[in-house]
Amino acid sequence: MFLFDETHSSSFSEFLASRDPDRLRPVPHVSAPLPAFPHGTTVLAIRFQDGVLMAGDRQGTEGFQVSGRRIEKVFKTDAHSAVAIAGAAGPAIELARLFQVELEHYEKLEGDVLSCEGKANKLGQMVRGNLPMAFQGLVVIPLFAGYDLTRREGRIFKYDVTGGRYEETEYYATGSGGKDARDTMKALYRRGLSETQALRIALEALYNAAEDDVGTGGPDLVRGIYPTMKLMTGDGLRDVEESRIAAECRTLIDARRERA
């Protein structure tokens, strides 16, 4: 019936599991290799003086084919946090969606938002829940970034397949081009970056990842497709306007052309 009073928890995924266990059950084990399916590639987060910036390229890759050019990999999860996904696109997008409902559900039931730390831990538990699927090759690795309202600073958390949660104090990137993006950020990062500086470093990192990693897509000037970016500060989360990203991309490409 309508009154589900068997559950007293404020967690939506626990409620969903008790109501409808099949919904969250991993796909049945098959011994044959899975056919090719889309993967998300490079996402990153970088801290700056007012908070944290999160960005992702737009390409989905399926084996040696491009499966999508306009994929969105950075998802707003509440007013002060976002999740970026890399790995098996289907389960990753589903995880981000469930996590978003999870945070909103808690906020509405409790009348309070979860702490930044609390959100990061919850996401770790959800990643661990995906472990049986990871054994079958459906690996989901999110990156979590949020503005911590008590500490008044941006925070970045990375995860491993077992749900292990590690905080990064400066920047991080994950996905197939993650290493290339991290190398770029390592060279350019310093403390107390301004918003514009952080945005430029993020674009530079994604551009280098796209150059060296076949799975990552660079800015597509012909179709007008650019990386997406979200900024989280004390005022909340906002998207960086596409026109601003496009202008910064053109500046970056012009600078590269002069160098070549």
Partner: protein, 229 residues
């Protein structure tokens, strides 16, 4: 052998209704009102942490009067229902009508089957998107559901409040300030006491906001609206 007392169904229902009505009348009132940019909810509630008004979904709010533990249980069930539906289908498929129906069914069956009826009265309101009109549903302790227009009132001295408001609320073109002032006037008149912003719980569903439209007004916000500098 002692026979159990016979009580006629009419008598049993009348007793239950009287019991529930008494319980609800002891509490304080809540007003919901359409204004130019959405829906306003005002509760006479001295507690800053135990809420009577709550966000339910993107464009839907909930208010409960009567016994706190009972409407709190219903509020949580409603949020679970809404989030489950929105997650299964899509956010736009969550509607106040379906929630109000679920409440009506649940409260109605408890009223007729359980020895103790729920001492609650609920409001489920939805702010329309674009040209869609707002919806205000009032659900009584016996599960009856009333589709209100413009103004809806629950709890405490609901009838006196509604009479007061019906004579003064003219159209949904009221500004937020005027709507809040009218609600406060109504609550002060029927309770015959002064209600400062600290004794009020105020929230709006703001028609123009994208996504989640629910917003609480702090006592400071309410003070600013009621006593402009």
């Amino acid at each position: 052998m002692a026979l159990p007392y016979y009580v006629s169904p009419e008598q049993m229902m009348a007793d239950k209704a009287e019991y529930a009505r008494k319980g609800i009348a002891k509490g304080r009132s809540i007003v919901a009102m359409e204004y130019a940019d959405g829906l306003l909810l005002v509760a006479d509630n001295p507690s800053a942490s135990l809420h009577k008004i709550s966000e339910m979904y993107d464009r839907i709010a909930f208010a409960g009067a009567g016994k706190y533990n009972e409407f709190e249980m219903l509020r949580k069930a409603g949020i679970r229902h809404a989030d489950l539906k929105g997650y299964t289908y899509s956010r736009e498929d969550v509607a106040a009508k379906s929630l109000a129906n679920a409440y009506s069914q649940t409260i109605g069956s408890i009223f007729s089957a359980d020895p103790k009826p729920l001492e609650v009265e609920l409001l489920v309101v939805e702010v329309g998107q674009g040209e869609k009109p707002n919806e205000l549903y009032r659900i009584s302790f016996d599960g009856s559901i009333i589709d209100e227009r413009g103004v809806a009132v629950i709890g405490g001295k609901a009838e006196a409040l509604l009479t007061f408001l019906k004579s003064r609320w003219t159209s949904a073109a009221l500004s937020l300030r005027d709507a809040l002032q009218l609600s406060v006037d109504a609550l002060e008149t029927v309770t015959s006491q002064k209600l400062g912003p600290d004794a009020l719980e105020v929230a709006v569903l703001d028609r123009a906001r994208p996504g989640r439209t629910f917003r609480r007004l702090t006592p400071g916000d309410a003070r600013g609206l009621l006593n402009p500098p």
